[in-house]
Each structure stands twice: as C-alpha cells, then as structure tokens.
Symmetry: C2
Subunit: 453 residues, 2 copies
C-alpha cells in the first residue's frame, strides 16, 4: 500500500494484496451459499432512465458511449443526444438498482422468496478520498418476495452478515440497526411532518454533532427547540437488547407507525442479541440518508475504525421493484469490499502467507529433464498441489533463489538421493526423500493463508 | 436461453445458468492456480491514450465520462474535450493492454517470469451477433519475462489451456498453432514484403475461401499469381505432429526467419503431441489478424462448433510491454468465457443439477420453533451443508412444495419421529431419522453439479 494507483480512485492490488481480497470474496461467497443464496451477476451498464428512477440524483454516475459515435457527433455526422437522455447507457453505481430490474425482467423464471448474492464492481464519479474509490467491489445479499416478505428475513440477512463478517480477519464489528417506521412515526408523533428532512439532518449527527443538528432541524425542517430536542433524544438511544423500547416509550410519544417500528426492531434486536451476542445494537441515530428504505435499516462499523464509515449497510424496501400491480418487497445488506480491503491492507490487519499459489517448484538437473519434471508436477497437481517447472537447468542455487524470490516454499529435485526424488523446504533448509504420489505439504502450505496481521 | 437480454449484447444469466458459468470460472481458476498462476485484476477503465497505443483502432471502444461533466459541457459551463483526447477514460476491450500497463507500473514489485491469470469483464461496442457480446468475460493467462522469456513457456501456456479446457464439459476442442516468424519469413522468402497485408488476407481464408484470398493477395498486396499460390500452399499445411516441417521445406523457400519459426513451432507441436495428444495441431493458416504477435500464435476451435470462431486465442509478444530500455516479452492465451458459456447453454452442452446452493430446507412445525430450526441449520452449515430455514409454520405439504419449486433436494423435520429429527429426500419421497451432527447427503447433492447435457 506504499504504491499509489496510477489513476486516482481506481485502486489495483499487487498479487499478495489480491490474495487478501480473494480470501475476503471466497469467504463471503462460502457463507452466502451455506445460507442458500444463489449467485448472480448483472451487466455493468443500465440505462440512465433505470438508474435515476429512484431519484438517486445525488449519486455521481459515469455515462458510457461508443467512441465511434462520439466522433460522428463531433464531426457533425450524427445529432448529439442530451447528456441525460434516459436511453443513454451508464455504469451502475450500486447492485440494488440492477437487481431490482433483474427481478422484474425475470420474475417468471425465479422462485420467491428469492435469495441472491452478487459480488461485482460498481462505479461512482465522486471525489476519491480515504475509504472512497471511484471503482469498487460490493458484495450484496438480498431476499426478495412476491407481494409479501416475512419480517423474519430482516433478522435472517443480519445473522448471515454477522456470520460472514465474523469469518473475516477484521476484528470486532458492530451492526447498528434502526427502523424507519419507528423514526418516522416518532417524528410525526411530535408534529414534524417532513420526516425525510428530519432524517437528512439526523444523518449528519456523527459528522457535525447534536448542537448543529438541532440548529439544522430548526432552520431547515421548521422544528421548534423542543421538537429538535425530542428528535435528538430519540437519536441518542442505543441498546444491545430490547430495552430501547422502554426508553422510547419514556419519551411519551404516541403513534401507530412508531409502535409498528418498535415491534419490528424489538424482534430483530431480540433475536440478534440471543443468536449473535455482541454483534448488533439498536441505534436510533441510524438514518441511511436519502435511500428509500421503509423499515429496518442497517449500518456496520469496524470497531476502532469508526471514522472509516459503514462497511456494510442496507435495509428493507416495501417495494424493491414492481411490475404492474405486482410488488416485490426486499431486504438486504451490502458490504463495501474495496473499502474494507483497503483498510485491511493499509493497517496490516491481514496478511497473505505468499503471493503465488505455487507450493512446489520442480528444479531441472538437465534441460532434457523438462518432460520428466512436468510428469512429477502433473502428479502433484492431480493431488491438488500447485506446482511449476523450471525451464532451464541452471545451478541449483539459482533455481532455489528463484523459488525463494517468488515465495514458493518447496523445491523438488528429480533423481536426487537414493529414493529418486527429494524435496527441500527452502525456508528451513530441510531436504528429504519424497514420492510425488504420496508427499503432502502441511495444510498451511497447501494454499496461501490469510491471517490477522 | 429462450429469454432475450433486455439490452442487446449484454447477456445476463438466470441462477441455474450462472451455476454453469461459475463452474467454468471455478474450474479455470483451479487449473490456473495448480499451475502457479497468481490471480490479479485490473481496473475496468484505461485512458484512451493507453488503449489505442498499440494501434488497435479496429476495436470498438466505449468511452466513459462523468454525467455531471457532460451536463456542464452541454450547458456551456465547461469546454468540451475532443472525443479522442488521450486522457479520456474508456472501458478496456481486452485484458492484455491493461496487463501490460500493470506490469510496467508494478515491475519493481513483481518477480519475473511473472505468471498471472485474470478473469474479468471486457467491453466492445461492436454489433452484437451470435457468439459476440458487447460485455463479456475473458479468462487470460500470461507469462511475462524481464528482458527474456524461454520459448518453453510457449508450450507451457498451451498445455495449461489444454488441461483447463479439457476439464470443462465442452467436448472436443483443438488448439491450432502457427508461428509469425515462420509465416513472415516465408512471405519474405517468396518476395512479399508487406507481410502484415498478407496476414490480413490469409486471416480471411476460412470466411471467404482460397480463391477470394488469392484475388485479395494480388489486388491488395500486389502478389503475382504464383506468389499467391505459394502463400496459400503454406496456409494449407496442417499436421498433428512435426511433419509440417518437411511439408514447408518441400515448398522450396529459403529464409532465416522462417527457419527460426520452424524450429520454434516444431518444439511446441512436438511437445504438445507427446504430452497432450489430439489437443493441438500445427495449422499454418492461423494469422490472428491485426494483433501484434511476434512468434507463436494460437486459436482454439470447439469440434463441431467451428463456425463459433475461436474460443481461446493468443500468442507471443517480443515486447508485451516496455519501460525505458527494459522490455517485457510475454506469451499468453485468452478464453472467451461468455462466448463459450453462451454456446454451452444454447446447445444444452452442460446443465446444472439445481439453481440454488441449498441442500436442506428446515421446515417449521410451529412458528416459535424458528430458533431451534436455525440451530439445526447452523450445525449443518458448520459441516459444510447449505441450509435455509422456513419462516412460517405452514402445512408441511406447502413447505415441501416450496423446497421443490426452488430445487432444494432435502426437507428437514424437527422433533418428528422417535429420534427427534427426520430428513426427507423430496425427489424419492424417502424419509428417515437423521442427526444434524452426522447426517451427510450423497456427494453429488452437496453442491450443484454441472454435467454434460
């Protein structure tokens, strides 16, 4: 991570760094599949009409155009299209909008509730900064129903993510959970009807502090000093168990929607507290800004790295997608894989044991042994041991040095010693007779290991 | 494959189709890693200057621009940039150009010869047609040296690809191999100096036939009738072993570069013939059009699907990349994964046993059993068995029907029968007592299987 990417906001990893990222992706995939999520991918481009449908104008979008067409326009041989023509193509900025379109288009071929995971690159033209790239990988899980979706799935996705994140070498994390119904009902209950405006102000709490938010609420949403105080009192509630319910009730606000939200959040937090203790907290300050969630909302902080922002966020939509009078409610969470991996690498939180998959480097005694050496490597590979073969019979010292430089732990010598073959652990220097049909390295050498740094 | 993608040229797979694609990617990755290739990824965008550096103007490029900037230009608040401004960003159209840049940028951090695989999406704005998409996945392997690279690597990469493709359910394939030095030397030897022009014409042989190519050679390259005949005689040579050498010599042409090419190709074909019999052939008609190869060139056809075009192509570059007076020769091959998977799916060459990873669906007898059911599912998952849990205690018949509709093979019943638990194979209807700590499905049910259709 001493290197700077040659294009700001477009990080690229060295092989050993990629081993760490691949380990994260493999671990997530394994957890998601064990929980019955099917993997899909959607195309990288959507039409602008599709991308901006949910009013996500705040997301910086990258438009895409055929260079040949651009040249025709520049030469006056083709009429220019408007930059925001809804038919124009653009790169997706998240995986939720494309997934919603996929569900609508393929509804007749999917079995609902449909559980899917999706791990792909997304693009945003924002100013690059710590924790924010212009190209980054997200790993999403969503469960989407046809017409209805049990609130139990709100707990299900949180438990899956707690397990997935818990399997990564990232230390402690905390999923902070709130409920939009609770918050919006409460605001209405105290007489604030511009609930979106209140949420937008509350969303700034961590950045600007309660006093500034109180000012914003009064100036921008027209709240009285008491209303601002009450909204902030709600946002200050944070409990590991369901005791937040009593704390909310103590604020003395009556609202049906708020009650619905309290019941839903109590169910989620109660179950998380029992099944994944220490992983989740009811945090009534979580707003999730402009995103169009309608119930449970989630954010996740890495303990000790709170200023990094959320590494895994999401929520429930009453209508993730709709098709005619058919609606598809959904609930899901999205991990910012690149943000997480950048932090893991920059803070040496995780390290790869080597940069290459190779376990064994088969040395050559003579150039004409290459085919025999390939035979040995072939036997090792059939047994799942990654092996490569030298191409020229240089001095053994030089061949060992090459393996060492690439991080390959073992060098194999053909026809050396009494048994015909010998293998050398070049880290310890130990050399012993070996049979390609039976020799096996210790488990920790078989594939590159990623461990907490 | 009855469905049409909603954006022409941008295919998307249903979950069961994605299982097939994922199987292809997993199989390739495993083979590449067993042969010591390290996985890397490069960013999706390059500058136009970088992309068009090798003169690849024939590739249709997608340019990328921030929508906010486009709007500023349209409103006259920002000066327009030229469509072919070299600093403009565009999506990569292959993985070779980005890899060459990556090697140059990171040369100080890589150990050479550097073996890497790279499996990513690429984009080309070409007219979509059978076998050609605008967004598609490529899987590349390359070996790149610092200053020099043994010709043995030309065989190495071909053997790896023969093994990788041989592990896929795609039937027979044939790697057709030629050598640029052989061809160019031969053309020079018969007095044709515009060797690029000759290659361009020969490249059309399969599409337009020998008579048309003879006409092209005379009209466009200025060849005489005899020269055209000789060039076609060379292109007609095709042998499984090294007997092509004698056939070329019989044409009576003398040229040093040709001799070098003959030696290199004989080495490649001789070794392929011994180590991967039936997988490769010397085919002196292979030209690889405008690509800037300097030695061995490869194309691969799927036997019985020749009209699909090449599914795996590549070659050797004397200078894949350069940095000051340092050059990085490389040799590699690229699989057109999307092209291959499209064919596998459209011709039912391969089929997934199910669309979901889930092995066991844990049914509910009562709503309050959900936590106990999650415990059972948790034990199964810890043992590597993918499991999901019902959310409501509907009638068993309805729960079984749900599992059946999603393709889940087993339904688990809590507290049923004397032993406490029972599991039902819903395909056979067999139901038996089971212990979550010990029960294991047959290996073929553990993960979705992809088999020849």
């Amino acid at each position: 991570m001493a290197r700077k990417s040659s294009l700001s906001g477009f990080p690229e990893w060295l092989p050993a760094e990629r081993v760490v990222e691949q380990h994260v992706l493999d671990t997530l995939r394994r957890t998601f599949e064990l929980h019955g999520f099917a993997g899909i991918e959607t195309r990288a481009v959507e039409t602008l009409g599709q991308l901006l449908r949910k009013g996500e104008v705040d997301k910086e979008v990258y438009a895409v155009s055929r260079l040949a067409e651009d040249q025709e326009v520049a030469e006056g041989r083709r009429p220019a299209t408007s930059p925001d023509d809804p038919k124009r193509l653009a790169l997706h900025f998240d995986l939720t909008v494309p997934f919603a379109r996929y569900v609508v288009e393929n509804a007749g071929h999917l079995a609902f509730p449909f559980r899917r995971y999706q791990m792909q690159k997304v693009w945003r033209g924002e100013r690059p900064q710590e924790g924010r790239a212009r190209e980054f990988t997200q790993a999403d899980i969503d469960i989407v129903g046809d017409g209805q979706l049990s609130p139990r799935y709100d707990v299900d996705v949180a438990l899956v993510m707690a397990e997935a994140l818990g399997a990564l070498p990232i230390g402690d994390f905390l999923i902070r959970i709130n409920n939009r119904k609770l918050a919006e009902g409460f605001y209405r209950g105290i007489g604030l009807t511009d609930t979106a405006g209140v949420l937008r102000s509350i969303d700034k709490l961590e950045k600007v502090g309660p006093e500034e938010v109180a000012r914003l609420l009064q100036e921008e949403v027209g709240a009285s000093a008491e209303q601002a105080e009450q909204a902030l009192a709600l946002a200050a509630i944070r409990t590991e168990d369901t005791s937040f319910v009593e704390q909310v009730r103590a604020l003395g606000v009556q609202d049906d929607l708020m009650e619905e939200g309290l019941t839903e959040l109590a169910e989620v937090i109660g179950t998380m507290h029992r099944r994944a203790p220490g992983r989740a907290v009811a945090d009534l300050s979580i707003a999730r800004g402009l995103d169009y969630y309608t119930g449970t909302v989630y954010e996740t902080v890495l303990v000790g790295h709170e200023q990094l922002g959320s590494i895994c966020s999401g929520g429930r939509y009453d209508a993730l997608a709709s098709k005619g009078n058919r609606t598809f409610p959904g609930v899901g969470l999205s991990i910012g894989v690149t943000r997480l991996v950048m932090r893991m690498l920059s803070q040496d939180m995780a390290v790869a044991s080597r940069a290459v998959p190779t376990v064994v480097y088969v040395a050559l005694t003579a150039d004409e042994d290459w085919s025999a050496a390939q035979d040995v490597a072939g036997v090792l590979r059939e047994r799942g041991i990654a092996a490569e073969v030298a191409v020229t019979a240089e001095k053994f010292g030089k061949q060992i040095k090459y393996a060492d430089r690439r991080g390959i732990p073992y060098v194999w010598f053909l026809g050396a010693g009494e048994s015909g073959h010998e293998v050398k652990d070049i880290r310890s220097g130990d050399q012993a007779p070996a049979d390609p049909q039976t020799w096996m390295p210790p488990a920790e050498d078989l594939v590159p290991q990623v461990t907490a740094g």
